[in-house]
Symmetry: C2
Subunit: 599 residues, 2 copies
């Protein structure tokens, strides 16, 4: 074959890496292996571990059928007796929300465990496809082309929320029409809450269909402590972001002129930022949960960053990387209050504000209607941000918090603070609280600082990568677990794996034990609480203990591109290893490795 | 050791990958190996290949000394006789311009070949450091910590151009004061042109110091056909960009709603874009050289993209990736003319324009002073871009072409074009030149298209990565070659490697054969011409032949993270393999592998 042909033949997902990664073996826990070494469904036994959230009485009222049927106990997978065999079951699967690495291995796990005697169906484009009944039978062999491959493109995804009676009715129609014995929902906290409601609804309608959730989200916030250390996709996404942030660390130190300000995807939890910070040791990494818990103001955050920049400058370092979690703004208490007030005022005076001719007029109208604290904060923001807060509103008339360019807001504020520090050195340098100790020469040197910045947003690049070895293993087994749960007739559970360091322990968590009732805007909402960074966790503590030293000595690391072969290919996320008290983060063990070929 | 300590100990470039990659062996060509298998300097012999650029008579006048000494012949490295041994030489090295992966291995190669009998010195922060005399003796063992590591941070870099008599005088002072026998300049076309002048200047001053250039640039434009297929850094940068673009391809197909518009670093050549396009097969990749050669207008580029979006839509594909080379704007002939005219008018009427109060006034003043074609083009640009063209000028009063947000310009123009196509379907669909053939249903379906875009810029992430296995090998041998050239007393050469597929052939290219004289703005300038994408090259041809098919069938690939181990770790760039007529791109051979430890 000539080189022209060789290059042409890499098209359509046949690049050399894709071809080789498809062949990589995947570990399989012993509970899924028969005596012949082949994959077979596990059985489930009750454990003495129970999952109950606060307000469980209310949950009992809302999910009577599911709770009566399953109870609150966590189930554990065990090897099934060799005589048991289930056939003729029809199981459908859907992806919900943003892509995360490993989704296709969930399908592979399902296909492997259902075997040739049961049918696997795919639902196109997410929960919306479930409502519409957009469903097809998956030829199991076609799974061989997507094993260990990234993205959600085999099925597609969407963000439809199933809330109305009409939607539930349509879901029922899809289930009945397709004679589904099982429905597997791959998604985050919202989608798994939805799965809990669908399970209850179908039970209530007397329809025998197992509904099983699978914990997906790159943010890592769909987690449940020692039962489920992390959701899938987090490991891959943070490895990619760590590669890029590590490279920017190295670039900053090489070009010796820029601060790279990097916003990292993740609207709520700062777990991504914490993991990337532990991996790369940047100059600054802001952790939203810490900012909220310590009630830090925007000014005090800016102070913190300006102080680090100054201390680095004293060491001759005039460059670095600053990590900002995407959801930061809502975690700054005073910003949260400002946004809440703006939402109220914008709703109350909608017409007046619309009629006013210019942003300046609108601003003048708004400011007196805020509390003095919020008005002062608003006035201190860069003009672009103020304009955005006033003009850009979502369908509910609320401020589009996700659109706020946090990294640019911080850059402007830091720039302003540094110039203030240069003009009023006596106020900022010397002895005394909040001041920076510095010699006269250091202060003179500081006055010469210029701040050159580059801003970056890392997000989409990390969602659809081929899964890391860890995520490939994790998701394949989640698929095996979910398929086994359906074949065992369980409903209203989330498949989970834990003990990644010693063979992998396969659990089923009752969804009703994860859901809580919350009052939001005077309305009762049912949610699975997002798992956030805890300031008491080992992972946060080690970061907090080391960050100043790392920053001031510029102790960055550049952990490099994710590897599929070689000595570094089996790492687990540092935060998982730390918070689960594993002996190391450098290798996982989830069972015996098998090359997966679906026949 | 507990996990806290293990995590802490990854700080300061001790992540597991960094530790392991330091240990990776590097291939060494036989010309650098003694009978004992140890690294030693090569000798150089004349070949019958000569390097002569157009206008060489003028070059002869400008570089009389260098040309008299070395001639135009290309030298080839051969194993030196075992008796030869050089000691006591002092060789300094500097990095110039933006970082590129592998710079540190150049230092490792120099350290290895100079051995313990000669001295290696480092110049801090680039050519500026050479002028200032900011120089230090490198403890060779310290090189062990940077072998196979990314970035330029061991020395730092800058972009000083050495042009004035005073600067040359200072360079001489640095050379004399430090008793330098050699000066190795790691840089791109400008830096190597500078190296040629420094070589001539020192010869002319009667100072015996070898000046050797090393071809660095992620853009791949410092190249010389079969003598030097590519510069170092290109392979690593394009592997990283290909990983990310491949992931975005996969993400677009998964989330099924976005066109990701990705601007790729590289101000002149589109080689990066071409390589990434061959690796990933995106919906669209614009090649600046093609646009210039075909004299395409901005409108015709927008037409091309809108056509691809439409044809994909007909296949149900409403997402994808569009690659835009950073330097595109200057390659669009009409944009080039507009910018040239603006520069002239802005210079001529500087005072008038400054005095006018608003952008609107300035625009009104400018438009009548342009040619009608340029005025019309200017008026058709989005307001932001017009404002930028009028207001943002560099130190010479010229438009800051590099600041033009090309990706946003294209997005706005495409959006406008699509809405025009919806309003005037008869003009755009049907039979006839330039129209898109479509059924009535297809046209109706097209009207429902909404274009959601995300824009990205990939650049800094790719410059300071740890080098790919290829770049690690290439740069180590460039260091060996440069050191050998200095020890052989050669001056005014660029170290080069070719035949990456069969052992590596080590050459020395006379810098005076690369430099040409050009008239720019009525002034004679000496430059090394950038190596651009040639439309007649195999690499461009295979892309041009396949791109429509790849686009319309969405045949994307996702070549994944750069590997250091395993079956895909030895790839060479596809464009190199294609244009050099190698049998494959999947493995290089540059000699016998050696673990490098500098003692």
């Amino acid at each position: 074959m000539d080189l022209f042909s060789k290059v042409s033949r890499t098209a359509g997902k046949h690049s050399p890496l894709e071809e080789e990664v498809r062949k990589l073996p995947v570990p399989v826990s012993s509970v899924f292996l028969g005596k012949d070494g082949k994959i077979r469904p596990a059985a489930f036994r009750q454990t003495d571990m129970a999952l109950v959230c606060k307000g469980h009485d209310r949950i009992r009222q809302v999910f009577p059928k599911t709770i009566t049927k399953g109870g609150s106990a966590i189930l554990e997978a065990v090897a099934a007796s060799e005589s048991e065999s289930v056939a003729g079951k029809r199981v459908a699967v859907l992806f919900s929300g943003g892509p995360a690495a490993g989704g296709h291995n969930v399908l592979a796990g399902l296909a492997a465990v259902l075997g040739s005697n049961n049918t696997l169906l795919g639902i196109r484009k997410g929960p919306g496809g479930l409502v519409k009944g957009d469903i097809f039978e998956i030829e199991k062999e076609s799974i061989n082309s997507i094993i260990n491959m990234g993205g959600f493109d085999f099925l597609g995804t969407d963000r439809t929320k199933i809330k109305t009676a009409e939607q539930f009715e349509k879901v029922k129609r899809t289930v009945v029409k397709n004679r589904l014995d099982g429905l597997v929902v791959v998604g985050g906290d919202d989608s798994n809450t939805n799965a809990a409601f669908i399970a209850e609804y179908l039970e209530n309608e007397g329809i025998d269909c197992s509904v099983i959730g699978i914990p997906k989200t790159i943010d890592g916030d769909m987690a449940a402590g020692r039962y489920l250390p992390i959701s899938f996709g987090f490991d891959t996404a943070t490895k990619i972001y760590s590669e890029l942030v590590g490279n920017l660390n190295q670039d900053a130190a090489s070009a010796v002129k820029y601060y790279h300000v990097v916003k990292l995807m993740g609207r709520t939890a700062s777990k991504i930022t914490l993991e990337v910070a532990l991996q790369t040791k940047p100059a600054v990494a802001l952790i939203s949960e810490e900012i909220a818990e310590k009630n830090m103001s925007l000014d005090s955050i800016v102070d913190h960053i300006a102080r680090i920049i100054t201390l680095r400058r004293f060491k001759g370092i005039n460059h670095g990387v600053i990590l900002v979690p995407e959801g930061l703004v809502e975690f700054i208490p005073e910003m949260g209050r400002l946004i809440a007030e703006l939402n109220t005022v914008l709703a109350e005076y909608q017409k007046d504000i619309t009629d006013l001719p210019s942003v300046e007029h609108k601003r003048e109208f708004l400011l007196p209607r805020l509390t003095p604290q919020s008005a002062q904060l608003m006035a201190s923001l860069p003009p672009d941000i103020q304009e955005m807060l006033i003009l850009d509103r979502d369908d509910h008339g609320n401020v589009k918090v996700s659109q706020i360019e946090t990294e640019k807001l911080l850059i402007e504020k830091i720039r302003y603070r540094l110039s203030e520090m240069k003009r009023h050195t006596d106020r900022f340098f010397g002895a005394g609280e909040g001041k920076i100790e510095a010699s006269a020469e250091q202060v003179e040197d500081f006055k010469k600082v210029t701040l050159s910045t580059q801003s970056h947003f890392l997000g989409y690049e990390g969602r659809s990568s081929k899964p890391s070895r860890f995520d490939a293993a994790f998701t394949f087994q989640l698929g095996l677990a979910a398929g086994s749960l359906v074949l065992s007739g369980k409903t209203g559970y989330m498949a989970a794996i834990t003990d990644f360091h010693k063979g992998g322990r396969v659990l089923a968590l009752p969804l009703t034990g994860l859901v809580t009732a919350e009052m939001r805007h005077g309305k009762e909402e049912f949610v699975i609480e997002k798992s956030l960074v805890e300031l008491s966790s080992p992972s946060f503590k080690i970061y907090a203990q080391n960050r100043d030293k790392w920053a001031i000595k510029d102790c960055f690391s550049s952990p490099g591109a994710m590897q599929y072969w070689g000595p570094t290919s089996r790492q687990v996320p540092m935060i998982v290893a730390l918070d689960q008290d594993y002996p190391d983060f450098d290798s996982f063990d989830m069972g015996e490795e098998k090359q997966i070929i679906i026949e």
